[in-house]
């Protein structure tokens, strides 16, 4: 690209032109999909949020009415609170747990490392529907394994608990399942980050008498900062996205105790056909995620 002030000759300009055309031809197939089915919907999401939109009629412009209604909607605030609880509980636990597992299994023989890495990734591959079905069975209050363990084996419970039907426990159950399906990727990332740590620095520190603990926190941890940052961002996004679990297990109930923004968008769009309203919520969700990611990046860069 023309960065300096040197005058290009005709031939040079033609070459630059050619390079541009070639580049865009290579990009074209992807751009068709990307612009048409990612960027355009994103734009439309913001645009439609200012309309009263539903099926089978023209959209009516309403300005900020959708947003106003949103802030007065009690269920929206409950959904926002539950989403925040899910994020604030699951993100730190996922990160700490996966760091611990990764550092423990990376010291093992290669075969054991990859076997464990595989096992912890399995719930992700199994797919959200299959995972949800089996957990639904395990949480069932008559035939579920949790009530059996709690009542007959450990004797903690004196009567079976309706785990998913009780507002006290439902959200906790959802978070537990979410945790098992979200640690896989961070573990893979941490194992490879631990592999890539500069070994000579660690050895030098050990020669100088550093304990393994010191070597870990003073040498390895700072080098893994970019990975940690990436993991924080993807885990946060993942927790916001948790949908199948809620749709298939509780549908937001009982008494909205597991209602999340993601599910509420779906509910508004596909049960009530309030497209504009749902889009306004999507915009708010995107803004929240953007702010959180920005904070995480800022914090990561300062360290």
């Amino acid at each position: 690209m023309a960065k300096n002030n040197v005058q290009y000759s005709k031939k040079q300009r033609r070459l630059v032109m050619q390079e541009n055309i070639a580049a865009y031809l290579f990009l074209l197939p992807f751009l068709v999909f990307f612009v048409g089915f990612v960027l355009y919907p994103m734009f439309m999401c913001i645009y439609t949020s200012f309309f009263d939109a539903t099926m089978g009629r023209e959209d009516i412009f309403v300005g900020f009415e959708n947003y106003k209604a949103l802030f007065q909607d009690e269920v929206f605030w409950i959904a926002l609170k539950n989403t925040m609880v899910i994020v604030l509980v699951s993100v730190p636990i996922t990160c700490i747990f996966s760091l611990w597992v990764a550092s423990a299994i990376s010291k093992m023989p290669v075969a054991a490392t990859s076997a464990f890495r595989c096992i912890f990734y399995l719930p992700v591959v199994t797919g959200s529907v299959a995972v949800t079905m089996v957990w639904k069975w395990m949480f069932n209050n008559y035939y579920g394994i949790f009530n059996y363990l709690g009542k007959d084996v450990l004797g903690i419970l004196d009567k079976p608990i309706n785990w998913l039907g009780d507002p006290k426990y439902a959200l906790g159950c959802i978070i537990l399942i979410l945790l098992t399906t979200s640690v896989g990727q961070p573990i893979v990332l941490y194992v490879s980050a631990l592999d890539n740590v500069d070994k000579s620095l660690v050895e030098a520190a050990e020669v100088d008498g550093a304990t393994p603990k010191q070597a870990f926190w003073k040498i390895k941890w700072p080098q893994m900062m970019p990975t940690t940052l990436y993991i924080l961002v993807i885990t946060t996004i993942n927790s916001f996205q948790c949908f199948a679990l809620i749709q298939l297990l509780t549908s937001g109930g009982p008494k909205n105790s597991t209602m999340t923004i993601m599910y509420y968008i779906y509910y508004n769009a596909f049960k009530l056909y309030k497209y504009g309203y749902g889009n306004a919520m999507g915009v708010i969700l995107a803004i929240i995620i953007a702010i959180l990611s920005a904070i995480q990046f800022k914090a990561g860069q300062e360290k």
Partner: protein
């Protein structure tokens, strides 16, 4: 002397800690494997065993009734081809078979299309200098950071307007547009020395030949990672499938099983059989291509 003792104690503590963490990891790994074990054994249990309040750890005799029930619940034509106004309809088969076929077709098409578009775009982003490159790249990164569910309503309306709603394309197209593959392959292509590409151009090869004969073979491991990643993710992309597909003969296996849940909410035998059908094939694919998959995950993270 004192110093040595300190080290000794520390070493002993380190060893105890490592044994302790071994055991703990094994226990946790077991609990991670358990749901999968429960799906597979559950799908072979009799109704009494499934509905007993004391769990039956291993089915006493492995019965196929759950699979038979699953297969007899709903049916759909094996395939439907229409061209020039004629429609050829295949023989009627259990819907679950059709759902599996749909899922495979959908995942394979998304995989092939993504690999093709992403390898070309990744190459251009990594090795070409063109106007708008920085803007395009930042758009890609921003799009990746947003949950794609945010755009579900506009996407649904767009698909209806294009007449693609309730077709397999409504699921495939958003996957191909999702920029993760481009991002991954751009990282890969950046690792290839630019001299290779230039030398090829100087020798008189066309742009296209430079790509197919020089660039593509060298980013093959990256393409493999992208392929397996896209395949597994589109197989499990329940959300998009749920929204875009309606008709019994159009569903994928995940959505199919999910709709069966609505009808037989406590017949866990059928649900486990369906879950096994949905998950075992993809788990096998994952185990076979595990190495590429891991590479895909870690490569995509290099620059976050």
């Amino acid at each position: 002397m004192k110093n040595f003792n300190r080290l000794d104690a520390e070493q002993r503590r380190a060893r105890i800690y490592s044994v302790f963490s071994w055991i703990l990891i094994c226990v946790i790994a077991f609990t991670f494997l358990f749901p999968l074990y429960w799906i597979i054994t559950g799908s072979f249990k009799t109704k009494q065993e499934i509905l007993s309040s004391t769990p039956v750890w291993v089915p006493s005799d492995w019965v196929m009734t759950n699979y038979q029930n699953l297969m007899s619940k709903r049916s759909a034509p094996l395939f439907q081809l229409s061209a020039f106004g004629y429609t050829i309809t295949g023989p009627t088969v259990p819907a679950a078979i059709r759902w599996l076929i749909n899922t495979v077709v959908m995942s394979v098409s998304s995989m092939l299309l993504t690999c093709l578009t992403a390898s070309m775009a990744g190459y251009a982003l990594a090795k070409k200098r063109f106007y708008g490159r920085t803007i395009l790249f930042s758009l890609i990164v921003c799009a990746m950071a947003l949950p794609k569910q945010v755009i579900l309503i506009p996407l649904l309306r767009e698909m209806s307007a294009l007449g693609l709603y309730d077709t397999i394309w409504a699921v495939i197209i958003p996957i191909v547009g999702w920029p993760f593959g481009v991002f991954l392959l751009k990282q890969f292509a950046e690792g290839i020395p630019t001299e290779m590409v230039e030398a090829c151009r100087i020798d008189g090869a066309s742009e296209w030949r430079t790509f197919t004969d020089v660039m593509f073979p060298m980013i093959k491991p990256g393409v493999g990672a992208c392929a397996i990643f896209t395949f597994i993710n589109s197989w499990n992309d329940y959300f998009m499938q749920l929204i875009m597909l309606m008709g019994t003969d159009k569903l994928t296996i995940s959505v199919g099983i999910a709709t069966m849940q609505g009808e037989n909410s406590t017949d866990f035998g059928i649900l486990m059989a369906g879950s096994a059908l949905a998950s075992v094939p993809i788990i096998i694919v994952f185990l076979v291509f595990q190495k590429y998959f891991t590479k895909g995950i870690t490569m995509g993270a290099v620059k976050g």
